[in-house]
């Protein structure tokens, strides 16, 4: 049958140039060219790693099949030829077959992305089918190209599984991170509540120490010698320092752990308000100069007030004896940011000490000379951090300090 079919094809090719007239005689060269062409395309058909089926559009039966198709499904050439597509399992039934041929007649083209096929041995293959209906001289032929995509489908399936697994892992990971973050937050919250409560309780005995020593000083100093009075004053001063320290720990733990909600803050009026309300900035000796009108910034008013007041009271606190504290406040625009400078004529900070001063309880100077908790700058840092801003210092020992807070500029 195959041979007959081949002959039939050859006839078609050799006959066509005569085109029914029978008058034109093909010369030798043309004959040879035809043979070359025939061999070339037959080789393509036979060597292809895709299945090729030729069908008769009228009978819907297979007229020829290439070796790869035979290899793919396990039918012999003989078994293929004369069968309809649904008989080899390519389409599920006769009706599907009819529909396919109908569509081919309409569009001359049909494509099935993904069809299951079973070989004679029961092996399942997945195939992609492209069918074309074309004119072959006087009659029509359907050519089906069948590509085995089993491997590709398998890889795709594995890829999908892997992707699914990865995304499931990602979800799990996110969940774990969220849970751990929540746990940590809760823990930090508990720790802060705990430290708040402890600090709070520590103030009660301190109040007693200060209270009783002051009552002794006020009401019983007649019975004390000057040394005893001096000792009492020292008890009161020490208790007072501890009270300041505890109050600043309380302030620090009260600062929000979360980001502060940012809104435009009128820096100019805030700074002037702070200067007006802090008694230590009001004493005659302190000189504060504000350069021009300070711009608006994006921040949290409470956090910003906390930070700026700490910088200002710091500037007044850390000055050499007998020096009038002088503070210069100015704003500098850096791109979209505003940098607020607070410059003082204080004792300054040596470069090697500058990293330490922002940490809790770190003090550079000697405790007996300057009152302070060592919390002041840690509070400024935490407050500025919460507003997503930056905080820094430029200073030299003995040369005054220039602290700065940098935040986003805001229109008021």
């Amino acid at each position: 049958m195959a041979e007959k079919n081949e002959r039939f094809e050859m006839q078609t090719l050799t006959q066509s140039p005569t085109d029914g007239n029978g008058e034109t005689k093909l010369d030798e060269a043309a004959q040879a060219a035809l043979r070359v062409s025939e061999i070339r395309y037959r080789r393509l058909f036979e060597a292809a790693r895709d299945g090729v089926l030729l069908l008769d559009p009228d009978t819907r039966k297979i007229t020829d099949v290439n070796p790869f198709m035979i290899e793919l499904l396990g039918y012999t050439h003989k078994q293929f030829v004369g069968k309809e597509l649904w008989e080899i399992g390519l389409l599920k039934d006769q009706q599907a077959s009819q529909e396919m041929f109908h569509e081919l007649r309409e569009n001359h083209f049909i494509r099935y992305e993904d069809l299951p096929l079973k070989s004679t041995t029961g092996r399942t293959r997945e195939v992609e089918v492209v069918a074309n209906l074309y004119q072959e001289d006087t009659r029509e032929v359907i050519q089906c190209n069948i590509r085995d995509i089993t491997q590709r489908k398998k890889v795709e399936h594995e890829l999908a599984l892997a992707k699914d697994k990865i995304s499931r892992h990602a979800v799990e990971l996110e969940q774990t991170v969220a849970e751990r973050t929540a746990q940590l937050r809760e823990m930090i919250g508990e720790l802060e509540a705990y430290s708040y409560s402890i600090s709070h309780d520590m103030r009660a005995p301190l109040r007693a120490m200060r209270g009783f020593s002051m009552i002794l000083l006020e009401e019983h100093s007649a019975q004390l010698n000057p040394e005893g009075i001096e000792h009492l004053k020292r008890i009161d001063a020490a208790a007072g320092r501890m009270d300041v320290l505890i109050q600043e720990v309380l302030t620090y733990t009260r600062l929000p752990h979360e980001e502060v909600k940012l809104e435009p803050v009128d820096l100019d009026s805030l700074v002037r308000q702070i200067i007006d309300t802090y008694p230590q900035l009001q004493t005659g000796g302190v000189e504060i100069h504000i350069e021009g009108v300070l711009p608006g910034v994006l921040g949290g008013e409470a956090s910003l007030a906390q930070g700026i007041s700490n910088l200002l009271t710091n500037a007044v606190k850390f000055v050499a004896p007998k020096i009038r504290p002088q503070i210069n406040i100015r704003a500098e625009t850096i791109g979209d940011d505003v940098r607020l400078w607070v410059a003082d004529n204080g004792i300054g900070i040596a470069p090697e000490d500058q990293a330490r001063i922002f940490k809790m309880f770190e003090r550079v100077d000697h405790a007996s000379v300057y009152e302070g908790s060592g919390m002041g700058l840690a509070i400024v840092r935490k407050a500025v951090d919460r507003m997503g801003g930056q905080f820094g210092v430029e200073s030299e020992a003995g040369g005054g300090s220039k602290f700065w807070i940098q935040l986003k500029k805001a229109d008021l």
Partner: protein, 160 residues
């Protein structure tokens, strides 16, 4: 009407300082002390020994600490406002807490004022002076609980 002040405070030193400050500024209202929340409630409801209103008169003013053993200050405040005859009693919170939630809850539950305990006698004298001037002199307080109930009853009779 009684001019007794009820101080609800567990810290003996703070009781001493408060009394001392009142004495120093010459405030001579009698002061009763309840050292925890339960005792404050017992005092105000007149149970056991507190039934003797000659010795333990209803106060015109309560100074209430928040951190108290047994029953916390805010619970005492809540209880006070739930008692019809104590609804108008002046309650001033005197706490060392400056936490906004404490302050907010105190007002929500009906505190008349919120004062933060100072840490030195001079500051405490200032606070005592403030209480004396504002709450005991300038302010017109509500009628004493019993008079108040009588007034309501009398008004009720007169209503057609």
């Amino acid at each position: 009407m009684s001019n007794t002040i009820l101080l609800v405070e567990d810290e003996v030193n703070d009781v001493f300082f408060m009394k001392h400050a009142f004495m120093e500024i010459g405030l001579d209202n009698p002061m009763q002390v309840a050292t925890d929340g339960r005792e404050a409630i017992n005092y105000l409801s007149g149970v056991d020994k507190y039934a003797d209103r000659e010795r333990f008169p209803m106060p015109c003013l309560v100074l209430l600490d928040l951190k108290l053993p047994r029953v916390m200050g805010l619970e005492v405040l809540k209880w006070i406002r739930e008692q019809p005859e104590l609804e108008t009693l002046i309650v001033i919170i005197l706490s060392s807490s400056q936490l906004m939630p404490d302050i907010e809850w105190a007002y929500r539950l009906g505190a008349n004022a919120y004062l933060v305990k100072p840490s030195t006698p001079p500051e405490l004298r200032e606070l005592a002076t403030g209480i004396k001037l504002f709450w005991l002199k300038l302010n017109h307080g509500p009628p004493a609980p019993r008079e108040s109930m009588e007034a309501v009853a009398a008004h009720g009779v007169n209503t057609p």
